[in-house]
Each structure stands twice: as structure tokens, then as C-alpha cells.
Symmetry: C2
Amino acid sequence: MTTRRVSELPKPTEAELAILGVLWDRGSGTVRDVHEALYAHDGGGYTTALKLMQVMHAKGLVERDDSQRAHVFRAVVSKERTQNRFLSDIVERVFDGSASQLVLHALGSQSASREELKEIRQLLNRLDRESK
Amino acid sequence: MTTRRVSELPKPTEAELAILGVLWDRGSGTVRDVHEALYAHDGGGYTTALKLMQVMHAKGLVERDDSQRAHVFRAVVSKERTQNRFLSDIVERVFDGSASQLVLHALGSQSASREELKEIRQLLNRLDRESK
DNA sequence: CATGCTGTACGAAGTCATTCGTTGAGGGGT
DNA sequence: ACCCCTCAACGAATGACTTCGTACAGCATG
């Protein structure tokens, strides 16, 4: 038994999320890539990044191509899926399950540009039409 | 020096958030209240709730009226403030700092009723007028 | 071949969140 | 006065996340 169901991938921790961010941006990356993108500038150790990525691999969050000496990692979970995962979590735990409450808060307190407001309005229109 | 700046209250943990939820709902509550609301039904121990609330008090997340034998707890942080706190966090860490990206995701993947959509549209209109 | 560089593997330590068992204090009822 | 119930206090155990030190392998250069 070596397989693992995708739906049961654990929620990435804080440090893991930062690493996933780098991998999503780059498509893939070595430990060195990640270390330089995240840890090098504040003195974080190389092995710290390595260990985290090993743990992530053990959890199934990333896959690894070890045909090269410097293993190349790639995110298994998509950025969108992970965003939705975190979103559901926070809606559930902090907004009493109401996504629109979250939206109202987000629009009210965080700033959005006119361009972004327009984009949101368009989506809103589409949702309105669809739920007719 | 016994005072503590509000802005430096720590982010509530998962378990603490659940307890805050009960206190926000009820306005205030004893350990027993919280235990029965959250832990009793799945066999969670009374002292677990107590300990968590003691920790929360030490952190300054709740205040305590110990004039009664059963101490009465009350949330120090408001629900709205905490919601925004979590929102900023997730926007920063998962949505590359873009609140509108989060809104688009939330609207797209989570369901919202027509009533809620209307409410959102009204806020959108107001924001549009204000940013004129 | 020795040295140095770059890489992985592994385990230990520290911190934090969570859970629970035990203890002792305080009252109320008998 | 004595027993029982409810409660707060405290410390211990566990488990997860993070960080880092050390060890070792492969490879190139002198």
C-alpha cells in the first residue's frame, strides 16, 4: 500500500505554505531555490528548508524528481485548491459558515482598486444570472 | 506595568477561537457553559476547557470576573476585529495580498443566496461611489 | 588520491497547543 | 461537625511544527 488519497492531503502549515508559494510561482524548484527565495535573506539555514520539504514530501504535498543530484520539487496541490481550502476553513471557523459575511468584511476593510471592484461586479452579475 | 497593548494580543488558536465563538454568542460565560457548548457532547473533559480559558486569560484574550465562585469570562477581542485579523492573515499568506482575489474565490466557490448577493452589490455600489 | 563543494538523510532540541489527572478550597445540606 | 459537589489551580504527557547540527555521498579540481 503506497498510494494515498488526494482528498486527504493535510492542510499545509505556515512554513509549508510559504514553500508552496515559491513552487507555485516557479512551477518547480530545488531546495536551494526555495532556500534562497525564503530563508537566505534572514539567515535561515539550508537544512531547515530541506527538512521542511522532506516532511512535505512525506505528507504528499509535493512530489520529487530525484533523477538529478539536486532533487526537483513540484507542488502536488494546486494553488486554487489550497486557496479554497483555507477559505472554507476560515468561513467555517470565523464567519459562522457564511461566505458572504466574509466577502462583506473583505470588501469593507481591505482595500480594492477600481479595476478589482469592476471585476467583482462582473462576477456578481454572472452569479445573479446563473442563480435565476 | 500591568497594562498590555491591545494591538499585541496574540492570534487565537483553533481551540481558543471556538471558545471565543461561544463567548461572542452568549456575551459571557463560565467554564461550565463553554464546556457544555463545545466539549461535553464529544466527551471532552471539563478541565480541558478550564485550562484553555486560563491560558486565554493569561494571554489577555478574555477577561474574568472572579467575584462569583464560578468565574465569568468575557471576550476581550471583538468578533469583528478577530474576523478581520484572520482575513488579513489569509489574504497575505494565501492570496498574495490581494483581497479582491479572495473575494472572487469566495464568491465563485462558496454559495451565496440571492439575498446575500444583493447585500454585496449594495456594498459594492457604496465603495464605487466613495472611491470616486 | 586528497580536498573542497554541493547535495541528501537523520535525529535531537525547542516551542507551542492541547488534553487530562490530581489536588485542594469553598459551600450547602444533613 | 461531616460529607459531597463544584470549582480553580497546577503540572505532566503528548503531539505537531520548526530549526539546526552532524554525518555521509558524489563529483570535480589540484
